[in-house]
């Protein structure tokens, strides 16, 4: 029997009084990879933000259970420490905040939550260098400020670096494959693939079928107008790529 990591029941959510999510339900078990596709503005990022607890979004009704806990009662940082990670569609720049300091605080915080001691500077450097290498982020980047002046692709790599470092239970990846060149797409895909295991789950939001060649999903969901309208396996993605979304509305 598989264990449930995330259970969303009849979720309604809005932004600035506009209803975006309209009764969405979704269950993700441990070890599963789910993909959400759907037209622009259908509410994919909204779902990701509501799950991560972005205070700009309001959850109107429904229930979200993450690893047995009611998410509604948890602050965003607690959700993160408990193992929920969001790779942002648009990673934010933090002027003056060094990458190293940011990543160290982040990991320390999570370790503290789990009752572990913070890593020493040396231990942390070792871990960080290893992962940075893997996603092709040079040590120069570690000395820079978080996302400041990073190119679009570099920002996405940085999200994957943080994913590897924090090793969450559930990784929500919001268009992490958008805006990448061919090499970067490989690096990012490999990063996701090597993260993914029987011990964790992935919710991948994307517009493109190509990343699914590297990160093979167990389920593909199509979201339209604030709800999941259909679900299937990998072949659904191929079908969508071929026929577009209109095919679903007219079906």
């Amino acid at each position: 029997m598989s264990k449930t990591i995330l259970e969303i029941k009849n979720l309604h959510a809005s932004v600035e009084d506009t209803k975006i999510l309209k009764g969405l339900s979704l269950t993700i078990n441990i070890g599963e990879k789910h993909t959400i596709m759907g037209p622009n503005g259908s509410g994919k990022s909204t779902l990701a933000n509501v799950l991560a607890g972005n205070p700009s979004y309001t959850m109107n009704s429904g229930e979200i259970i993450f690893m047995g806990q009611n998410l509604n009662e948890m602050q965003p940082d607690i959700r993160a420490c408990a193992g929920l990670f969001l790779a942002f569609q648009y990673p934010v720049e933090l002027p003056g905040v060094r990458m190293w300091q940011f990543l160290k605080s982040s990991l320390d915080s999570k370790r503290e939550y789990n009752g572990e001691k913070p890593l020493s500077t040396r231990e942390f450097d070792n871990v960080l260098n290893e992962y940075a290498d893997k996603v092709g982020i040079s040590s120069d980047f570690i000395k820079r400020n978080v996302n400041e002046g990073f190119s679009g692709g570099e920002k996405k790599r940085n999200e994957i670096l943080q994913l590897s470092l924090l090793n969450p239970k559930l990784a929500i990846l919001d268009e992490t494959d958008s805006g990448l060149d061919i090499d970067a797409l490989k690096v990012v895909s490999k990063g996701i693939d090597s993260f993914s295991s029987d011990e964790n789950s992935v919710l991948l939001i994307t517009h493109y079928q190509r990343i699914l060649n590297y990160v093979i999903p167990d389920f593909v969901h199509v979201m339209m107008d604030g709800n999941i309208v259909t679900s299937g396996d990998k072949t659904l993605a191929l079908e969508l790529e071929e026929k577009g979304y209109d095919w679903l509305t007219t079906k």
């Binding site: 607890g53 700009s56 003056g96 905040v97 915080s109």
Partner: protein, 486 residues
Amino acid sequence: MKENNNVISRTTELENDNYKWGFDFKFNPDNAPIGLSEDIVKLISNKKNEPKWLLDWRLKSLKHWFKNQDNEPKWANIEFPKIDFQKIRYYSSPTSKPNPKSLDEVDPEMLAAFTKLGIPLEEQKKLSGVAVDAIMDSVSVATTYQKQLEEAGVIFCPISEAVQKYPELVQKYLGSVVPYSDNFYATLNSAVFTDGSFIYVPPGVRCPVELMTYFRINELDTGQFERTLIVADKGSYVSYLEGCTAPFRKNNQLHAAVVELVALEDAEIKYSTLQNWFPGDTNGEGGIYNFVTKRGKCQGKNSKISWTQVETGSAITWKYPSVILQGDNSVGEFYSVALVNNYQQADTGTKMIHIGKNTKSTIIAKGISAGKATNTYRGQVKVLPSAKNARNFTQCDSLLIGDKCGAHTIPYIEVKNPTAQLEHEATTSKVSDDQLFYTQQRGISLEDANYMIINGFCKGIFKELPFEFAIEASQLLRVSLEGTVG
């Protein structure tokens, strides 16, 4: 084991009450009565056994102040009820024996108070390598590290002691940068100043330790009027740190200091301030009125003066550390972080007066406003006709937290030499919800996220501070930011 051999005794004989200047000594020797008069000025001068020239200078200042007492500066962007200068106590000694021969003789309660403030009076404390002169209310309490300084020939002592031991030096430079008639508060200070630090670095000497003074206002109703004079002789270098704190008080307390710096040829003075005077409570009650005149003169060629300040305290701050760039090729710098919260008001900035050829100045001012506070940057860059090839770079960044606070940038530029090059940049930004959320999503609490982002905003200034001070500044910022988000 306690080491006291680095502390030398103070020689100011406060017991010496031989009424030199022929006036009656009608007051309790430890607390002067409240109010301002010629008698009070004479009392202060007499207690400090001052020479006649100094008493005369004080009396001249007092006369000038009385003549102009209705001309309090009104141009600053600050609001406060009129101060009754007759309701302030102008001299107060916190202990009956203010001349400790060693740390053992310092009132243990006072030491405990300093320890609580994190002030490293004892050598073994983390700021080892820093010489400390601690001033509580009006009297210097203990001066550490004197021996090493004496060996280097550096004089670092309370100004009252310098008046006794090095009267020529004091007389030569006191008032040479900030004349007694300079402004309302400087004039008042010239009349009633009680203590402060004096530093003289002889030619070619690089001061071996950072010099530091902690100021604390303790007594109720006491004004603090310290006077600091730093002279760096030819080719010398000194780094001076000042820290300021005051306890919680319901009523407002006045702090009107004057700081004068003189850098002779090839000399450099680095002056760093951490100011967290009590800012008043969250309703805006109480707090320090901080009306300070700080000015440095790059008197010799190739000299350099740099002011670095991190200000989080005081109910009202009125302060413009300035540099007069008189020597050719001299350099003036001003790096500042001013944080205001709740009902705090700050009107701060700097003045760079270019007189010599090839003089250069840099101004980097970061203002952070939270709560209902207002932060005004007021900066003047003046290039006189003689200042050929003068350069100035000014950058003013304001950061707003919440939407009830304000920030203003008021630059005054006056250029009288066409070869001058001036650059000015100004930005206003907010800590965005997106930045906070992004950071929180990485497991960092909202408060820490806010601190991290604001600390990032200030980084360029903190790096100008000596290392230990930079850490303290950063912690101070953290404490001051408590409750600004969420």
